[in-house]
């Protein structure tokens, strides 16, 4: 379905978003299986903070300020801890859009970002948490003039980057 969607060629954000969305499919073609561990961890942490805030809200509605003082302090501290972990994860895995493993057990981490007005997809591909490849992929290489995303061209470009360092 996503290959039928037109992307606004004038918006770097849209171009980046479409590219990010197509990363999993492209990497499946290159033989990788996506690992959702990081995403699920972040979702879980986020949900916990929402639950803590929700429970605190209920306590706040039911009890007086003085009665609920201690519980409030504890809740805020717990919220701060989980929020802190979430922030830390976001800092360490900054811009990471895909983590996957191939059949040989090799890990690939792909971080992708854009700068405000450049039509370039900056990537940092990390293999097995050891070797990193930083590249600049021009959007025009895998988007056609009408705005359709070209999966085959993207896979080729990615493949070229991954095998570049391994040579």
């Amino acid at each position: 379905m996503s290959s039928l969607k037109k992307t606004n060629l004038d918006s770097v954000t849209d171009l980046r978003q479409t590219t990010d969305d197509n990363l999993p499919a492209a990497l499946t073609e290159l033989g990788y299986d996506q690992s959702f561990k990081l995403i699920d961890t972040k979702l879980a942490l986020g949900s916990v903070t929402v639950v803590i805030a929700g429970l605190l809200f209920l306590v706040d509605k039911k009890y007086e300020f003085n009665e609920s003082y201690n519980i409030t302090v504890i809740s805020i501290l717990l919220y701060a801890i989980f929020s802190g972990i979430l922030l830390y994860l976001n800092r360490v895995y900054k811009d990471v859009k895909y983590i996957g493993y191939n059949s040989k057990g090799e890990k690939i981490t792909i971080a992708g970002w854009t700068k405000k007005f450049d039509p370039i997809y900056y990537t940092k591909i990390t293999l097995n948490d050891k070797t990193t490849i930083e590249s600049q992929l021009e959007f025009k290489k895998f988007f056609d003039t009408l705005g359709y995303f070209n999966r085959e061209a993207f896979v080729t470009v990615l493949k070229g980057q991954i095998t570049k360092k391994s040579q």
Partner: protein
């Protein structure tokens, strides 16, 4: 992945509310006041404060001084009142302090506002906080929100929409 994406969107929306709420509760704990920011609702403190002014409260003062502007609530009535301390009586070391208040713009003191048989405010238990700073007129938004239902939901709707459509 679709489930994950939807959950992520839901969380992003929830973060708007949870972070605002936690921020409020944190401020509440720091100031030791159940309502650390209040909006002036009446004109009883003119010309010092006008309806719509935002007041920032602090409730960790050991005792109040005559001339301080305090916010208090009478048990049984939920509206906070912003008036000035007129008279005070205290026990040794201010362990207990009783206050009499009056609005600058009112002709009489607050005795008529207190609960039946209540002659003074207890500094430790009746006060929401002492006014330490204020911002003029910006609080009119909250008066509109609480008094005008359409405004409240309209603003909430705007906040939700803006968080859903931000992709930067």
């Amino acid at each position: 992945m679709n489930v994950r994406q939807q959950l992520q969107q839901l969380l992003t929306l929830a973060y708007v509310f949870t972070s605002a709420f936690i921020l409020w509760k944190t401020l509440s704990i720091i100031t030791n006041s159940h309502s650390p920011i209040v909006v002036v609702l009446s004109g009883s403190m003119e010309p010092a404060f006008q309806r719509g002014d935002i007041l920032f409260l602090w409730n960790r003062d050991d005792h109040a001084k005559v001339g301080d502007i305090v916010v208090y609530e009478i048990k049984g009535k939920s509206i906070p009142i912003v008036h000035r301390v007129l008279r005070e009586h205290h026990s040794k070391d201010f362990a207990k302090q009783l206050l009499l208040t009056k609005g600058d713009n009112n002709p009489v003191d607050d005795l008529g506002l207190y609960a039946k048989k209540q002659m003074y405010l207890n500094q430790k238990t009746d006060l929401v906080g002492t006014v330490k700073a204020y911002l003029p007129k910006l609080g009119y938004v909250t008066i509109l929100i609480s008094e005008n239902v359409y405004f409240k939901f309209g603003l909430l709707g705007l906040m939700c929409l803006s968080s859903l459509f931000s992709n930067e």
